[in-house]
């Protein structure tokens, strides 16, 4: 009887839905007919390494890699993609079989992977909200709950026909201008020394200027993050200089703020356990006359994946006096 030993078979035990799942099999050099990988519906084949691509077969959810398709015996590299699915969490199983020329299964192994994604749901949305401008207190807040594992990044914005618009405070506009200028100054020598990264630096500047206003922007941020990963691999020297340039710009742009103020801003952006808010200082202007606020929440996860926007039902807002209040104060996170 042929005993086939797998020296190493790896699939991570958990991943965020939508995340690429790497894996590999390393085995001793023993003759087999083919390797069969049976994938669950939640997982798709993305790339196989050390194989002749044209010789890889698929049959339904199974991938068949014939012995002769393996370029160097003993190793198969794998990259799968996981799907975003309706269920917030699911445990999926991948089956690996080594089959002999005579169709006898020589070895069968499986690996389970827990696929999860965070989600936000509106638990309670009041028809009316009253804001005490004196005490800066909001009565009857919107209650939202985060479900499942994983971090959510949230952007709260008003829709076009909302009577009350979410605004960026002047202090923030000033900060963005300063940051942009400082980044431009810091990036100028980098562009000169590393002209092949000019496009990357320009795209970063453009996104800093525009910020995250739509899910399209998020895709651009995501691409930038992917490019940054590649750069960190291929040129650590540039990556280090880029990091220093960004940190210097952050520091120079916020030096007018006291350290306690910076800590407060930090704490305000952490809304709840694993809920991060983008631009938590965004405000709305309220006045004693009731006006309608139409909001939507743009959720994203650590992969900067743009989930569908959540529309908040229309809310009538009144303030005890005219003034501005941070939009996050309208929410209670659970």
């Amino acid at each position: 009887m042929i005993i086939l030993t797998v020296k190493s078979l790896f699939i991570p035990s958990y991943a965020l839905q939508g995340e690429d799942i790497p894996g590999h099999i390393i085995w001793d050099e023993i003759n087999f007919g083919y390797i069969k990988i049976e994938l669950p519906e939640t997982i798709l084949k993305k790339q196989l390494y050390n194989v002749r691509k044209e010789m890889v077969e698929t049959a339904g959810n199974a991938v068949i890699i014939r012995n002769k398709a393996i370029e160097v015996d003993g190793y198969l590299g794998m990259l799968f993609s996981s799907k975003k699915i309706e269920d917030l969490a699911v445990t999926s199983r991948i089956l690996f079989s080594f089959i002999g020329e005579d169709d006898v299964t020589l070895l069968k192994e499986s690996r389970e992977i827990y696929l999860f994604r965070p989600n936000i749901e509106l638990v309670e949305t009041p028809d009316e909200i009253k804001v005490d401008m004196e005490k800066r207190f909001v009565h009857n807040r919107i209650r939202a709950r985060k479900n499942e594992e994983g971090t959510l990044l949230l952007k709260i914005r008003s829709v076009k026909d909302s009577e009350i618009q979410v605004e960026t405070p002047n202090s923030m506009i000033g900060y963005i201008k300063r940051l942009l200028q400082n980044l431009q100054d810091e990036y100028a020598p980098l562009k000169e020394k590393y002209p092949h990264y000019s496009d990357f630096l320009e795209r970063h500047l453009s996104l800093i200027e525009k910020g995250w206003t739509s899910q399209e922007d998020l895709k651009k941020f995501k691409q930038l993050a992917i490019d940054l990963n590649r750069i960190q691999l291929e040129d650590e020297d540039f990556a280090e200089k880029l990091f220093m340039a960004i940190m210097n710009s952050f520091w120079r742009s916020t030096r007018f703020l006291s350290v306690p103020e910076k800590l407060l801003k930090y704490l305000e952006s952490v809304a709840h356990k694993k809920i991060l808010l983008a631009r938590p200082e965004s405000v709305i202007t309220v006045c004693p006359e009731p006006r309608i606020l139409k909001l939507e929440i743009l959720p994203s996860d650590r992969l900067l994946y743009a989930y569908d926007a959540i529309k908040v039902p229309d809310i009538r807002i009144t303030g005890t006096a005219e003034g501005q209040i941070e939009i996050v104060k309208l929410f209670e996170w659970m």
Partner: protein, 309 residues
């Protein structure tokens, strides 16, 4: 005319040129080639062990017109094992020259070692795939890491030994919960009052706000500024190091505050710490996995201790 498909670059140009020159020279018969690339400083060591073809010795020098090469060393192989033969190498304006005529009679073979920095490492993307978990595991707050070679055959066919050393992995360890949660509500209230007071322009409101601030200050047992400073100190790489552990075959390299893409970055209090880990890949180990353990409970306790919460 149909355009030829663009060739995927899988190696550095200098190594390729050294390979070609050695392959084409009739004086040497290359028996083995070993390449070792150190990723952080893009440094490559190319070793070639070759037997000497004495019939062809008279054909002159072997020229390596590559000014990127920093050093070439030569050692003897065979009966006079591993004697240095540095006088065989001559630095010339365009690179180096190996004077084959100077190879001593008794030397049967030589080991040539080329050391150079690779100016463009963009080919790495075509040969190695690195992956890092975006989120930690629920059970033990660890992040998986995985490295795998995309190609093996090309290297197997050409080299007896090929290795990629210290391939970097940047793990963004999310720390915001452990930073924000232990800070007591009365401390946050104090910070808010401080901000309101600084911004207040109505002189009639200032005395009341000052009293409120003094009252909130009494609940804080130490100087708020020194508490914030102690918190800030935790993000110093040397201090934060104790909150992460990297499991073999990966190793810890360094860490720094993570950059924030989507929110207000202050440059002081990070939401993530970017931990660089490294591992080695070679033809025998074309793939490996590792993990980084984030000791979040320790960080939480440390911050709780600072704030007395």
């Amino acid at each position: 005319m149909t355009k030829a498909p663009k060739k995927t670059r899988v190696s550095d140009d200098i190594g390729e040129e050294i390979y070609r020159i050695l392959d084409e020279t009739p004086v040497l018969h290359v028996k083995s080639r070993e390449v070792s690339i150190r990723v952080p400083d893009s440094f490559c060591t190319f070793n070639a062990a070759a037997s000497v073809n004495r019939q062809e010795l008279g054909s002159g020098e072997i020229c390596f017109p590559l000014d990127e090469i920093e050093r070439i060393s030569v050692h003897s192989l065979g009966s006079s094992e591993f004697a240095r033969l540095d006088d065989l190498i001559l630095k010339i304006p365009e690179g180096f020259q190996l004077s084959t005529k100077k190879i001593p009679e008794e030397v049967e073979g030589i080991l040539l070692t080329f050391e150079y920095r690779i100016p463009d490492m963009s080919f790495l993307e075509n040969i190695v795939k690195t992956s890092v978990a975006a989120e930690p595991s629920k059970e033990e707050d660890s992040y998986w890491m995985h490295a795998q070679l995309k190609r093996l055959k090309w290297f197997e066919d050409r080299y007896d030994r090929w290795q990629l050393l210290d391939t970097p992995f940047n793990v963004d360890v999310a720390i915001e919960n452990e930073v924000a949660t232990p800070i007591p509500p009365y401390f946050k209230r104090h910070l808010r009052l401080l901000r309101t007071l600084v911004k207040e322009q109505d002189p009639h409101k200032i005395p009341t706000l000052s009293m409120m601030l003094a009252s909130s200050r009494r609940r804080i047992k130490a100087d708020p500024y020194s508490l914030i400073s102690s918190l800030e100190g935790l993000f110093d790489p040397q201090q934060f190091r104790r909150f992460v552990e990297v499991m073999p075959p990966f190793k810890y390299s360094h860490l720094k505050k993570g950059g924030e893409f989507l929110d207000f970055p202050t440059g002081i209090f990070p939401k993530t710490m970017s931990v660089t880990c490294r591992t080695k890949l070679d033809l025998e180990t074309p793939a490996c996995e590792g993990k980084l353990i984030y000791k979040k409970r320790d960080l939480y306790n440390e911050i709780s201790k600072i704030f007395g919460s």
